[in-house]
Symmetry: C2
Subunit: 234 residues, 2 copies
DNA sequence: CGCCCTTTTGAAGAAAATCAAGGGCAGTGG
DNA sequence: CCACTGCCCTTGATTTTCTTCAAAAGGGCG
């Protein structure tokens, strides 16, 4: 069901009535598949759809003049993007499939219509934007201590994966490699490797070939001062 | 006239019809004054208004657990904030008056009504949000070379001040002190001082007691690779 | 097995933080 | 008119953090 995860995310942002839910479910979804390493949306593209990640992970990124990459956000199942288009603007950054993705999409006029007729849906879209913005601010706020920055990213991913039910006993799969993590935090992969080693030594987080184990979530949170409020999850 | 600068900013985002303009002008504005160093809006506050800076400068900021401050955006005359409230959310960061400010405000229901009846105004509000978001991404993208980061901030301020007509021959007033600049870029004020000295020595930008002189804007742009597209100015 | 991709490790160097002291300037009050 | 005070900026010396460069070590997979 294409709309299910999307609905879950919307419900975390507002209280949907049954009519709202029915409306979202009735939207005409189509699906595209994007393989790991390929762009879901590219710079300059003017999407005619709103996109929702159904399975897999994606990331927003931009390239610097010197060729280095900065990841500015991670998208998990249920997250959407391309709402840009609601304002008729072109993509000023790209979106990359970190793992093979199934992306659901709705034609923009459809979702605009829904937003216009259903104030709660409109509100949800606004809140989703606010959540994205708050996340960007949280990333900007990220301390310059690399080890804390990494810990906080892990906490964020944990909180979001937990919300969508993708975690079993503090043990989960993260398709990001150390270069992705570095690009998301403005660090080199070499340094990420060293800091992950420290986190492991400290017993806070064990990240080995895409499997992440957190023995004590509270300890990790405390170590980096993570507060999930900016994610707007309920 | 409270609405004038606001209209100018909206016009940079969309093409307003005369009816749209008339609607914005007819909105019931009130004015509040905030002195340099005081908060315009504080964390946790649930604004009942949309705010527009009329004169002065303001900045969004958050405090870290260790007490350090991160400025996540600068607001100049014509910029607005508190649109948060459109979604009924509380402020998760604060807004500080960098210089004495005159802030215009409209009650939220008024602006919501305008947005609902005038699709172009609604679109403008969305685009304004997108511009803010794009700016956050641009800040996140900011290279880790401190001198380039500072140069880029100067370029951004120049572009935005230029747009609102606040610049005469590459010479303008910046009420930010070096600590503000550091907080906006994640640097210490000591390092900012050193880098400003370098920029001065390189003949790229001369910043002395709140007065900024840029001998050759193109040279400065080239030095830091600044591209103003993310500001959505036209 | 051999290849590719990712991670790990080491050593050296660069960038920025930290600590500490001094200097300029504006505003205040004698 | 001058001294005093507070704020901000500047400068130097030192230390920390992270990058860079380089090489080797694991896996996963055809």
């Amino acid at each position: 069901m294409a709309a299910t995860q999307f609905l879950k995310r919307l419900s975390s942002l507002v209280d949907l009535s049954e009519a709202d839910e029915a409306e979202v479910r009735s939207l005409p979804w189509s699906v595209v598949n994007v393989r790991r390493g390929r762009d879901v949306l590219s710079v300059g593209h003017k999407p005619g759809f709103a996109y929702v990640v159904q399975t897999g992970w994606a990331a927003r990124y931009s390239l610097r003049k010197n060729g280095s990459r900065r990841i500015t956000g991670v998208m998990l199942p249920g997250d959407f993007c391309g709402i840009h288009a609601v304002a008729g603007a072109a993509m000023d950054h790209a979106i990359l499939a970190i793992a093979d993705c199934e992306i659901g999409r709705i034609e923009l006029p459809e979702i605009e219509k829904a937003a216009q007729s259903f104030p709660t849906i409109n509100k949800a879209l606004w809140r989703a934007k606010l959540a994205e913005e708050a996340t960007l601010r949280a990333w900007l706020l990220n301390s310059r201590e690399a080890i804390q920055a990494i810990a906080r990213l892990i906490c964020e991913l944990h909180a979001r994966l937990s919300f969508i039910g993708a975690i079993s006993d503090g043990h989960f799969t993260v398709p990001l490699n150390q270069e992705h993590i570095g690009d998301a935090l403005g660090l080199t992969s070499v340094h990420v490797s060293r800091m992950l080693k420290e986190l492991r030594a400290a017993g806070l987080a064990d990240y080995q070939r895409q499997e992440l184990l957190i023995p004590d979530m509270d300890a990790l949170r405390a170590a980096c001062g993570f507060d999930p409020a900016y994610l707007y999850l309920r």
